[in-house]
Amino acid sequence: MADPAPNAKFVEQTTAVRSPNQIAWAKLKQHTLAIYGGLVLIVLYLAALFADVLAPYDFETQFRTKPWHPPSVIHWRHADGTFSTPFVYNTVKLRDEAYQAHFVEVSPENMEFLKGRIGPSFKDQPTEYHLKFFPKGDPHKFLGVIAMERRLFGVESNDSLNRPAFFLLGSEQLGRDLFSRILYGSRVSLSVGLIGVVITFTLGMTIGGISGYFRGKTDTVLQRLIEMIMLLPGFYIMLSLRAALPPDLGTIQTYFAIILILSFIGWAGLARTTRGLVMSISQNDYITASRALGVSSLSLIMKHILPQTFSYAVVVASMAIPGYMLGESGLSYLGLGIQEPYSSWGNMLQAAGTGNDIKLHPWVLVPGFMIFITIVAWNFLGDGLRDAFDPKTILNAKKGGA
């Protein structure tokens, strides 16, 4: 950083005083892993936002002839060896002696093999289906408003019998594109944490703040309430609450029900810490002074106390989000959350029911790794934020990984 130049005194005088937030930002920038985590999260959340365009297919589009299709092989050369834009061949499903299904490309070198093996209904000739930007695909509403038919990339075809498809990450049981479903599912899995944390924070900060500021009987009552909620075994309450809801709930309702359930469990811990913070802050002399000056409680809380707890809140928020994601994906994995045909990363993992399933179609594990990556990213970012807002860490200290 700033080298001890001979005119250091001069530099010090002219440098503008930096606000705590500026210092924190400077510290955060030093935390490499946090920056990487943040970048990954930005990419993931942007992908979720633009899932309609990024996904080559709709989450419901089924390729009935291509269940459990492995990721498509992308070719760069024509049959004669000359380079071309990337393309895929159509595939047909065949079964071997052990009745195990596998897919064979309808490519020039496979034609000899395929002759006699595919039924007369397949009149497939080796065709190159080129990957295009903005091909015509399944209709969707871009950002929920603009009706569109174009997707970012994909193959175009009008065959109805054995429709060729481009599966970046393979397909699942009903022949739906895994990549598209992951993108659509990320909308659920990624947003649950954000919305949940917002609700938790409104509840936790308000109740904790009231409890810490007013003390006395209010505090006692609220503390008992908080203790009770903290005593509730989260998983059990989650299950009971979910079971109490009618099973034929719509997807949107289920989604919000899950968020509410998770927030209901989560707010108490935050309220307790906020209370402690508010208590220690309100003991400061300047609070007493402003109270003596006749500042109303509301503006005291809003102007002087809450802003001080804000940095703490940001840190806890980034640390809490993974918990919500785990809750949602766990419930969905057990079949209590988001229901088919809608996808979430949790319910997509149901396809990995047995070890054999995974051995035959390892690509069904991708949603699990997506959960993992997202949570790692949040953890890194949270770690960095905590260090950044912690006044004890020194700005220029050599800070390595984690």
Binding site: F235, Y236, L245, G330, G355, I375, N379
Partner: protein, 667 residues
């Protein structure tokens, strides 16, 4: 210390009950609706639903139901195995197959007006329906639920005309027949064939009318079609008996013979008023015969075991009763002793029947001293005034050993039809076993790893450990479990000649024991349980280490920066002593503090793991019963987990006070 513990318990225990109330309300939002459909699924008739509804208090509002539950838990303390020794009404005819129920009525010599009763036939195997008697005629009522046909035989001193009257929804259908002296008169009613005459589903009752007030013995055997037994094999349902007392003074209903109050190995159960010595002699004789045969056969097969008659001493009679009509009124309970020829009633007590069902207990202290309980053959209820009472679940209770006392009554599982306590006791044990192992290994690994990370900060080892802990923390437990199952499936393909073949199938992916667990030796059983626990425990440990290692590392780093460490170092203390004696002890404080929150987390967290690995623990049980709206099981689970959490937190606080003397628990 003591006052602190007391204070904590005073706050926490009511909180646990408030919490159970919250869960009770939540689960009951849809449970009531589910209850009705669940009863209908079993093909129960409306009367049975009505009885069950009243028995489970489903017609009451939720808070009242909660109070009933609380009453059961707090005050209705019973022995665990009580239900195994319920004295039931005995099958007097064991030779004729297991699916026969006996229905015997005798005309009493006493001048009484008619008495009628309602019998729910779907009783336990071998449970007869009881007997009722009148002066004018026998009037007994059967509620049809799963009875296929009813056979009647009748005997009378002189030929006597009897009529069997089917009361169906469409009217009465009489079946006259004559009781002969030798009892040869026989009438078989096939209820399926009868459906042309009377709407079979609407049969309300079957009555037997006698023209003359003379003694006749009518024996009915209702052959049941065990509908529910197919759906729930091996499960039992309770029998409900309604006895009505119309008319003028002194009426009584007899509830049939009690099951012989002994449990025996291979003894003839028809010996219903046993002479214990004779029974033992008979058993010994049989044993001598079979061991002789065994010796002659060249000692093939298992050696016959000597059977011993096991006497069980009862000390009280319990039953549930309420007044259906005309209540409240008094009823006298009599025990009948002696054989079928001469019945001697002995008064044992009087109960007052109120509007709501109450459990009445008559202790045997109040019994006449000369009463031989092992000769008790029946119970007679005599009412003093007019009314109609409902009696349910007569049971003779076993004399308790003091150890068996104090177990709360959580009721009966709606689905499994067995005591909740026996259902979940083993599950709680399993979960605690698993959790303790997990905790042990998490501490064993996380503590050294955390200290290492702090001492050798930013070394390669620290970076590797940091990376692994981040992976462990970010990996959803169910995803880790999926991966584990996948890796174990891979071991199935290790060929026999490979040096890794021992791995093949070493770690089972589901359950707690192997199928042939009971045949193993003790050592093999231990190994069997241990290897079943490996996968679930590994998943939990990998998830748990991460967080704890980070905490230890961070606090240890913080302590190292403090001045007392510098001072100690400057004084020339060896670094290892400074680290482990001074810094580590202080670093342990948040570590121990977090232990209190580990236990709740582990119980909740291991639920996922239990479900995926099908480990029969409390979490999996909870999951299943929540999905089936099995309210008693859910409630018992919640209460037990809540209490475990309270205890865990309390222990953590004490541990904290022990590690950090600065913390005073008194304030």
């Amino acid at each position: 210390m003591k006052t602190y513990a007391l204070k904590r318990l005073l706050i926490s225990v009511p909180l646990v009950f408030i919490m159970t109330f919250v869960v009770f309300c939540i689960i009951n939002i849809t449970a009531s609706k589910h209850f009705a459909s669940f009863m209908n699924d079993e093909g129960a008739d409306p009367q049975v639903i009505e009885i069950e509804t009243r028995r489970l208090h489903m017609h009451e509002p939720v808070p009242v139901r909660y109070l009933y539950w609380l009453q059961g838990v707090l005050f209705d303390v019973r022995v665990t195995q009580q239900r195994r020794y319920i004295a039931t009404f005995e099958d007097n005819d064991p030779g004729k197959g297991d699916d026969r129920y006996l229905f015997a009525g005798t005309v009493s010599k006493k001048p009484l007006s008619s008495v009628s009763g309602t019998y729910d036939v779907g009783g336990e195997k071998g449970a007869p329906m009881g007997a009722l008697a009148t002066a004018e005629g026998v009037r007994a009522t059967l509620v049809r639920r799963d009875v296929q046909s009813i056979e009647f035989t009748a005997a009378a001193p002189a030929p006597q005309g009897l009529a069997l009257i089917i009361n169906a929804g469409s009217g009465q259908v009489p079946y006259p027949f004559t009781a002969e002296k030798d009892g040869s008169a026989r009438l078989i009613l096939d209820l399926d064939e009868m459906s042309s005459k009377a709407e079979i589903e609407q049969i309300l009752s079957i009555e037997i009318d006698s023209a003359k007030p003379e003694k006749a013995v009518v024996t009915a055997q209702a052959v049941s079609r065990p509908i529910w037994q197919e759906a729930y094999p091996g499960e039992q349902r309770k029998r409900t008996i309604q006895v009505s007392f119309p008319g003028t003074p002194s009426y009584y209903g007899e509830l049939g013979a009690l099951k012989s109050p002994y449990v025996s190995k291979g003894v003839d159960r028809s010996d219903w008023a046993p002479d214990w010595n004779a029974v033992q002699a008979k058993l010994d004789e049989g044993w001598k015969k079979s061991s002789k045969a065994w010796a002659e056969s060249g000692k093939r097969g298992p050696e016959p075991e000597k059977a011993l008659v096991e006497r069980i001493d009862f000390d009280r009679l319990e039953f549930e009763a309420r007044a259906v009509e005309g209540g409240p009124f008094k009823a006298e309970i009599q025990l009948l002793t002696g054989g079928p020829e001469k019945v001697t009633p002995v008064r044992i007590g009087e109960v007052e029947l109120g509007e709501s069902t109450h459990t009445h207990i008559i202790t045997f202290d109040s019994f006449p001293k000369d009463l031989d309980l092992h000769r008790v053959t029946g119970i007679r209820i005599v009412s003093v005034g007019k009314g109609r009472g409902e009696f349910d679940d007569f049971r003779l209770r076993v004399k308790e050993s003091p150890i068996g006392c104090g177990t709360p009554n959580f009721g009966e599982s709606w689905h499994k039809k067995q005591s909740v306590l026996t259902l979940i006791f083993g599950k709680v044990k399993n979960t605690i076993l698993l959790t303790l192992w997990e905790l042990f290994f998490i501490w064993l690994i996380a503590l050294p790893a955390g200290v290492y990370g702090a001492v050798r900060q930013y070394s390669t080892g620290d970076k590797v450990i940091s990376f692994l802990t981040f992976v462990g923390m970010a990996m959803p437990s169910f995803f880790l479990a999926i991966l584990m199952i996948f890796f174990v499936t891979l071991t199935y393909e290790i060929p026999k000649d490979s040096m890794w073949f021992w791995l093949n199938g070493l770690f089972p992916i589901a359950g707690r024991t192997s199928q042939n667990h009971s045949e193993m030796s003790f050592g093999a059983q231990m190994f069997d349980v241990a290897r079943h626990m490996v996968l679930p425990a590994t998943v939990a440990i990998l998830g748990g280490i991460g967080g704890l290692q980070r905490i230890v590392r961070a606090t240890m780093l913080e302590e190292r920066r403090k001045l007392y460490v510098t001072t100690a170092m400057a004084k020339g203390l060896p670094p290892s002593k400074v680290l482990f004696k001074h810094a580590l002890r202080n670093a342990m404080i948040p570590f121990v503090a977090s232990a209190g929150s580990i236990l709740p987390g582990m119980i909740g967290g291991s639920a996922f793991i239990e479900i995926i690995f099908e480990y029969p623990g409390i979490g999996k049980q909870m999951y299943e019963s929540v999905l089936t709206y099995d309210v008693p099981v859910v409630m018992a689970n919640t209460l037990i987990v809540g209490l475990l959490l309270v205890v865990g937190n309390l222990l953590a606080d004490f541990a904290l006070g022990w590690v950090d003397p600065r913390i005073s628990l008194e304030n």
